[in-house]
Symmetry: C4
């Protein structure tokens, strides 16, 4: 039963396209990433007016070749997998489709071609390639640590947003409409620009009262930028400790998770050093 499956062309196609443990699979992944990268560069260059005027038709041709190749790739992905719907509705599958559609839309609608920039989303595949190399353990470690931070960071971002709404609204009252704080949404935009310490300067306070309030907003932003850092540092340390503790295991009950300073197994009570 095993050998016919392995010789099956669909199985082998699946191995090349979806897996990366075979040399053909690796070559496919690297080649795909290279194609994605090149097609994005072309879209970028085409957006530069001066280059578009000169090489516009060449760029267009290359883009169509890539669109054609990516369409074939998409079809191959569909036919080589057992459950095509699972792929179509997966994150990568949706991105692959979004990256394809603009080319065909541009036949019917003028300007749809500019949606080609969504091909940049396909760059996310780079992490799949990374996994090949020795970056794997580092990526796992980071994602593990950050997963624990997501909830805390989102509470933090919610607080920042609420602060921005409140401080932006007050600033709208303090500074007048003619000073750039045209309406509350603009003032909230200003508050976010300020709290995150980006500070474009497209809107900035003019009145003394406004400058005083802005100073307070800045100092708040300056202080609370420390919170996500603290959260992530803490969760990194936690993830590292858990990772480090794994190897030690009790010689009696072989359960793991003992502290570095433990003398006896915390699960069965027998000495860890027999």
């Amino acid at each position: 039963m095993e050998s016919p499956t392995k010789n099956n062309w669909r199985f082998r196609l699946h191995e090349v396209i979806y897996e990366s443990n075979t040399s053909a699979g690796k070559a496919f992944d690297v080649g795909l990433l290279f194609a994605i990268f090149t097609s994005i560069i072309i879209v970028m260059l085409d957006s530069v007016e001066r280059l578009h005027d000169r090489y516009g038709s060449l760029f267009s041709l290359i883009e169509w070749i890539f669109s054609f190749l990516f369409t074939i790739e998409y079809i191959l992905r569909l036919i080589s997998i057992k459950k095509p719907f699972k792929y179509v509705f997966s994150l990568l599958g949706i991105i692959d489709l979004i990256a394809l559609i603009p080319s065909y839309l541009s036949i019917f609608f003028v300007g749809a071609q500019s949606l080609l920039v969504f091909r940049a989303l396909r760059l996310l595949r780079v992490f799949r390639i990374f996994k090949l190399g020795h970056f794997l353990s580092e990526i796992n470690f980071l994602t593990e640590a950050l997963k624990g931070s997501v909830r805390k960071i989102s509470i933090f971002l919610m607080t920042v947003l609420m602060l921005a709404v409140i401080l932006g609204s007050i600033m709208y009252l303090v500074e007048q409409r003619e000073n750039g704080f045209a309406n509350i949404p603009e003032s909230i935009y200003w508050a976010i620009v300020t709290i995150t310490t980006v500070g474009y300067g497209d809107i900035s306070p003019v009145t003394p009262m406004g400058k005083m309030l802005a100073s307070i907003v800045m100092l708040i932003g300056y202080s609370i930028i420390a919170v996500p850092t603290g959260i992530i540092t803490h969760d990194l340390a936690l993830a590292a400790r858990q990772k480090k503790e794994l190897p030690e295991s009790c010689p009696t009950c072989s359960r793991e998770g003992h502290d570095a300073d433990a003398l006896f197994c915390k699960f069965c009570g027998s000495s860890l050093f027999v």
Copy 2:
């Protein structure tokens, strides 16, 4: 005694309005937050000149409906609690009142309507809703950790402010009045903008001497931004350790520091549950 109290309408009203363990209480909280959110969006949209010219009267109507609803809510809060004054002078009570007043002020004073933005303060209620869900332990953890940092952060902010006064004053001497550093308060504003790395660019040094001094100010700001981060990271780690360590101590040797999943003391090997 218990059942008549429970059937009492004031008790039930209190349960719905102030508590959130019953389904009616939860619905009330979610509905209230939705109303607050919508009313703020309306105030925001109304502040956009283009939309105000078009839908001004519609926005005004909706705002009055919300003002009416919030007034009823305020009255219900007053009559359903045993000690109304405690609510009136609590933080949330004051905010609720501040959010109500502008509507009624606008009958007598033109422009008072713009004070409606203070309704944004009511968004703070969102944290009460959060407490319903599984964010509770994370919020508790963060507030616990940050409470310990408040004093250290305020010393830090005081130092930054003093630095801003001193550096701003020196900058006022170095750069001339015509270079934007019009007076010492403006220069202090510039110093805060620079130390916090916001950098609007509305005021920036022009003379070589001023640029050199500004560079030093920036490097100072760049270095000390690390201090609040260090403080918060440290206090987060502390809070995490206390949370983890508090419950356990060995009943035999009374040594502490056991893991949450430990069954036996890691120091003397005796059971933790005698």
Copy 3:
């Protein structure tokens, strides 16, 4: 011998001016800080052209009164201390003198009055007042921790400065003189503005090549801003651990500094739990 010394007027003056354990000493410190603060506010307000035109002479009068008071304070400090030269050449002594001189200089030189801003330096005395209250242990903790970081932070700042020189010089070659990068010192100033993420925008790259290089500079700055934070967080944790370990002392040899998990004294080898 002790009582006559205590009744000595110089001793009592010293106690009031330099110490803060007596109520008179505390009152003097608070009063002095209040005077410093008010005099700085006056200097600030006087720098605002509009206010200077109106109240200039009033401000001038108040400033002279403060100058007179601070002169008396300086003389009292000199005569109430045993070694006046030690005070004169101490940091606070030099600052006190610098804060005094401008007033008297302004008699002979027009404009010297603007040097009054150096009075802001006297605000550093605020930390002495802080020591009165319950901020003492927090200040000690922070200064202790930061003392250990000074050397590492200075290596870091030196590296940042060198990076700024190198990257600024390269940027001067890439962008042309007409794009704002007028000369190498200006380019270095730009590099510092960028690495520290301040980003005024008074000088910003114009050419595509310059923008690409600037992006790299920004990403470098974005990454290395983490280094001082890491250093300070680490040293805070170190300082905290040392502070925490102090109370535990060996019951046999009474030496301190044992780990939280130690069972036996690391100095004399006897059990810590007799």
Copy 4:
């Protein structure tokens, strides 16, 4: 065999130029750094138009003297080392050559003189001098810790770059060409300026939709700036622990983790020095 080698002039030259344990070696290193520093200051001053017009010929003379001295130094380095090619192709060797070439190029090509700024790269030698003093252990500690972070930081930077490409591309679609987002590369430049919180303000969103998207980009940047900090803090702590723990292990129970000042094992109570 040893004494003739020591008296050999090439050996002694090598000791002076490459080593810094002899007083002559130290003097050479300090003198060299001083010469590099001065020559860079001259190049900087020469780039200031006003100074160039006045002292241009003097600067040119001094630059030629330094070029001559550095050429001699380079030749001496070549002849005093056993394997000259190893030096020529080392990092410092290449920098030394790059710093020399512009002077001689400027004879044939006008403008090549401005390449003299590459002399700034020679400042990297400052770290060799640092190693003389007591900064050695701190530098070793920092480089050791950062070495462990390089891989994680590069994954992080890659993610930031990809985010910048995706967000910049979307922003190019949202904002129109006339709003400063002229093409995709410019938009990516804007995204990097925003994510890193530099925020020049040379390009900033104009449309409400663009401002909303920009706010999201800022909040993303504000959150992920915490990641490198967390990484570096974590690796600093790791490096510190390893440094502290390596030397000791109890000769009786072979448990590790003793303090640097411990005399007896804290686990079994036996002496650490048998």
